[in-house]
């Protein structure tokens, strides 16, 4: 699970806690830039899908809310950004914000229906909405270009400085930057009382009601958050590839992003990112290896992960860490807020 409650020893503790992460966030893009510049595109793809998976994690991993139609928001974000730039407004950052807004709005409207049902019904209702939007976009060829995709996007330079180049360098850093920003916000959300509430709802909605939580309202809030982040991810994908495919709305993508999340490990802050990386890279390698039967390999990875790495890649990492150093348990068990009270520091050591 994730540290949902950060230590209270404010900013100093924050740096101690996040220092390693920040280093990582700087190191990885730098490494790509220096050693694998010809992989900018793949890396950008991973980053955008990573954000998408992260957004789904807020629902599936934290709020315990199931969705098989999350691509709806990804696609809506993508088409919003796409249509903006096709019709003359190619400024990327405002494009992202507007895409986020639209996706969030649609999320808000549909949320009422989605939180009214649970389990399979919830899965199917989200799926249903996704399929309806897909059909609509497919019909509205005059607007979306239908299955030919949305063409003729002209995205202006980021901050008026960085042109989108063929090597995908600008695209890469732009995406990573936005991802990092969204990740920080998402982390905030997860670490907040609201985030804790979501975990409570995932664990035991009945009890949440019993402590006076208006459960539906909280779930709707989570749904809107997820929609917004997914919208941004979609917009990123559209702007960096200067193209929007109908597939960005498809059930296939909804399923794929769920698979990514589960591969990485749902309910863990890095689950989405790791999952997206694992899935995309595995698919890329395997399909280069064998363009015809790569699916077998991908399926195999999924099966093996479930059998031998419950809780996804991060899950197995964590349980390994625990086996190696038993004390780690306390830290991973989110001792965070408790560190405040001496009583539990004692306990923590014990």
């Amino acid at each position: 699970m994730t540290p949902s409650c950060p230590p209270s020893t404010a900013e100093a503790g924050w740096l101690r806690r996040r220092g390693g992460e920040i280093a990582l966030w700087l190191a990885v893009p730098l490494a790509v830039a220096l050693f694998l510049p010809e992989y900018y595109l793949l890396a950008t793809h991973v980053a955008a899908l990573g954000l998408f998976a992260l957004s789904l994690d807020l629902l599936v991993g934290y709020a315990g809310l199931l969705s098989l139609g999350h691509a709806m928001f990804f696609g809506i974000g993508a088409y919003t950004a796409g249509l903006l730039s096709v019709h003359g407004w190619g400024e990327p950052i405002s494009g992202l914000l507007i895409a986020a807004l639209v996706a969030g709005l649609v999320g808000f409207i549909t949320s009422f229906a989605v939180v009214r049902v649970q389990h399979l019904a919830q899965l199917m209702v989200t799926l249903g909405f996704g399929l309806l939007v897909f059909e609509a976009a497919n019909r509205a060829r005059w607007l979306t270009g239908g299955d030919d995709g949305l063409q003729g996007m002209d995205v202006w330079p980021v901050l008026g400085m960085f042109e989108f180049d063929l090597f995908g360098q600008t695209a890469f850093f732009y995406t990573v930057a936005v991802l990092a920003l969204c990740f920080i916000i998402a982390t905030r959300v997860i670490d907040s009382p609201f985030g804790l509430t979501l975990e409570g709802l995932r664990e035991n909605p009945k009890r949440m009601a019993a402590i006076g939580t208006p459960t539906a309202a909280r779930l709707r809030q989570a749904y809107v958050f997820a929609a917004i982040f997914a919208g941004i991810a979609g917009a990123l994908m559209a702007q960096t590839s200067q193209f929007v495919a109908l597939e960005t709305l498809s059930f296939g993508l909804s399923a794929e992003v769920l698979i990514m999340l589960l591969l990485g490990g749902a309910g863990r802050r890095y689950g989405g990112l790791v999952g997206a990386a694992v899935f995309v890279i595995a698919r890329d390698l395997l399909s280069d290896l064998n363009p015809q039967y790569w699916q077998f390999g991908v399926g195999g990875v999924m099966v093996l992960v479930v059998l031998f790495a419950p809780g996804g890649v991060l899950g197995i990492l964590r349980s390994l860490r625990q086996r190696l150093m038993p004390v780690a348990r306390a830290s991973t068990a989110k001792a965070a807020p408790v560190t405040a009270t001496p009583a539990t520091n004692k306990g923590g050591a014990a």
Binding site: G299, V303, V305
Partner: protein, 288 residues
Amino acid sequence: MLAILLTVLFDGLAYGMLLFLISIGLSVTMGMMGFVNLAHGAFAMFGGYVATTLMQRAGVPFLVTLPVAFALVALASIVVERLLYQRLYRRGPLDQVLFTVGLTFMSVAGITWFYGPSQQPVVLPAFLQGQVSILGLEVGIFRLFLVAVGLLVAAAVVLGVERTRFGAKIRAAVDNPVMATGLGINVGGVFALTFAIGSGLAGLGGALGIQILGLTPAFPLKYLVLFLIVVSVGGLGSVGGALLAACVVGVIDMMTKYFLPEIGSFIIYAVMVALLMWRPHGLLGKKS
């Protein structure tokens, strides 16, 4: 006009029966063990390939291939269940989703390896082709056959569940696995057998469906949504529900295609959402 309406209605029912045959297993096993088996479509596909292989390679007559498809798929499913699935019953639904989708991918690629990516041919025996006119109504013989088989299976399943001891055990297990275990029912065993029968029926459906659904390695993914719609709208673990839902889906599908072709699949999805809003546990599903 009435004749047209009846024809379309009948075609819809025939289509529905097919969906029912394939989906019923999924519905019961999901309702019973809460096991999310998204690889269910793969079992249907295997049934189809068993049938075509027997027909092409061994010249076995179509009707004979049907029971064989049922048996082989049922057998195979027992192996899968004992070997893999039963390890996952204690896991969350998400793990089950990841696992079964993974299996589906593998089976898709595997089938492509053996049979190639393209459509499998199936030639129906002459006596199942063409149309007969019943009370002035032009009816496809094969579809008539489908409806017959569908109703037969539905009847058998209902009787089996309602009347036999095994059926009683199934019902107990569906209602409350824990209590059933308490009553000394070997829920694991009951489930394995139910699972096998359900998968077998899927295989049967797959074999019957080649004519209408076609048969390519993409089958399990292509129709997954359709099966899930039937299961969810019908209500988990409800035989009658699955039958009802399948017919509703089939009829609506045919109706829209005939009368409002330009609307495409909108209506079917909209109806699903509406029905689930109205009855979240499905038309005949048990409140949990």
